[in-house]
Subunit: 302 residues, 2 copies
């Protein structure tokens, strides 16, 4: 058990270091005009975050032995979409946050106009990266197109942006548990699901049964991720989190903790981890990393 | 000559009306949750604009007899990227404009957070639309991937967003003519070039010579478009333009008129139209609509 946990930690470190390099190479150099925009794009993406989405991409890639180059592209694209959403989400007209990953947010370090353009350009760059480097053969191109379509759908108004719109509209409202789950399934769940599916799709075209199993896993870890976020927001301090703690309560935003209470929220997170494990059963030993990520999401302290 | 001009006007009206329908069908319904976001996305895209980019897509599609469905997708994607850039560009932290196409801008009619999300979601939706509906058959998927890559590159920091960053950084500076042209080639030229290339690519894979000819045409009309914009900004009134006139001068932004003067700017626009016509010579009669668009860009009054 100890050796298995150690090996997951090593695997995670290796993916994170691979991705730091891949992201650095996928972003325009800060010596290229417009230099300030490029510097700010790199600031927003590099040296930060747990890289949960890339970890999911690589873990799902194990299922069907996907090649490393395709996985790196998918993971870089997803991380750019995620980073852009954080930059825009932190802006004064949205959450108005000054601290992210323990550093000043982009609009604080640069300015609002730059933050707006950084987010816009990072979204474009995600699609640049994912549309490049397709191996010869119409089958490869068809699979890559499916990956691009999934990423775009998960990012837009039927996914992440839609969830943020619902989140904005819900401040001060007493959401039901079902409404809260729907919001999070769009706001964070859609991109986590896309990470799992893109990683698997980098290996082969998926059957309906495979998609259904991966969807069940994704829904479970997506909700678990949010439940744990709410628990940490209510219990941890800003220094540990690397962002302003207790902000949701201060903003009067509905959370799992405010609806279910702390103990029941923790119990829900454990149940969702079990759901995630169960969904992976058809994939056997090859789903090991996906199982370990579900554990990580529930056990994390920041 | 009169009948040729009349027939161009008819063709233009037909493309515009086709695109109004195609855009309406390509955007989520405002009855779908999140309804306010979807309503605002439709407000930003529908019933407005000259649809210059779709006109270029359809005109370039004529060169190689591209099918109408592919052209509609490409044109809708380009128009969504264009519309999102206007929404973000109008926001208080950028140009802070209250009027666009004779109507209140999105952040005025809705709010800033919604305007931010409208732009973000429209960019995603552009890639959704362009990644869907690929026909079976050798080369179709590969060609569509090339179109997606071009659109993403033209939208990001090497294209439109990069041009906006340079534009922002140049307020109050005395740009040289070369620096001004570089800024506009990125800010508006990149998307016009993508319109021409996507329309042509919807018909067939392009040779290097064909790309070079279409690039020469695109550079000429892109600069002509901007020169005429500057002339109109200096000479027309807000009611005719449907946006705030004289704003560039008030903001102390460098323009062709401020650098070259009015008469020389008008002469430059005429020269650029001739350049555009010359670049199209290899395509013969099939380039008729592209020629007429160059004329339209230089002769327009708003």
């Amino acid at each position: 058990m100890t050796s298995s946990i150690a090996s997951f930690a090593d695997w995670m470190k290796q993916v994170q270091s691979t991705m730091e390099e891949a992201l650095g190479a996928s972003l325009p150099s800060d010596a290229t005009v417009p230099a300030r925009l490029h510097e700010a794009m790199r600031y927003a993406v590099l040296n930060g975050g747990k890289r949960v989405r890339p970890l999911l991409v690589f873990a799902a890639g194990d299922l069907f032995d996907a090649d490393a180059a395709s996985l790196q592209r998918a993971a870089a694209a997803l991380e750019m979409i995620h980073a852009y959403s954080l930059v825009h989400d932190d802006m004064p007209c949205m959450d108005d946050d000054a601290l992210r990953r323990g550093k000043p947010t982009v609009h604080v370090k640069y300015d609002e106009a730059t933050a707006l353009l950084v987010g816009d350009a990072l979204q474009s760059q995600a699609f640049v990266v994912l549309s490049e480097g397709v191996a010869e053969g119409e089958g490869q191109a068809t699979r890559r197109l499916a990956m691009l379509r999934l990423l775009a759908q998960a990012s837009g108004s039927a996914g992440m942006c839609g969830g943020q719109a619902i989140d904005l509209a819900s401040i001060g409202l007493a959401l039901s548990l079902g409404e809260l789950e729907h919001m999070h399934q769009l706001k964070t769940g859609a991109l986590l699901r896309a990470s799992v599916l893109l990683g698997a799709l980098a290996g082969k075209t998926l059957s309906d049964a495979e998609i259904a199993a991966l969807d069940a896993y994704s829904v479970a870890i997506g909700l678990a991720f949010q439940v744990v976020d709410d628990v940490l927001d209510a219990t941890a301090d800003s220094a540990t989190l690397g962002k302003t703690a207790g902000k949701d309560a201060a903003d009067n935003k509905p959370t799992y903790v405010s609806i279910l209470g702390l103990a029941e929220s923790k119990a829900l997170a454990d149940k969702l981890r079990d759901d995630a494990h169960r969904a992976l059963m058809p994939f056997g030993e090859k789903a090991r990393r996906l199982r370990e990520i579900a554990d990580l999401i529930v056990q994390r302290k920041a």
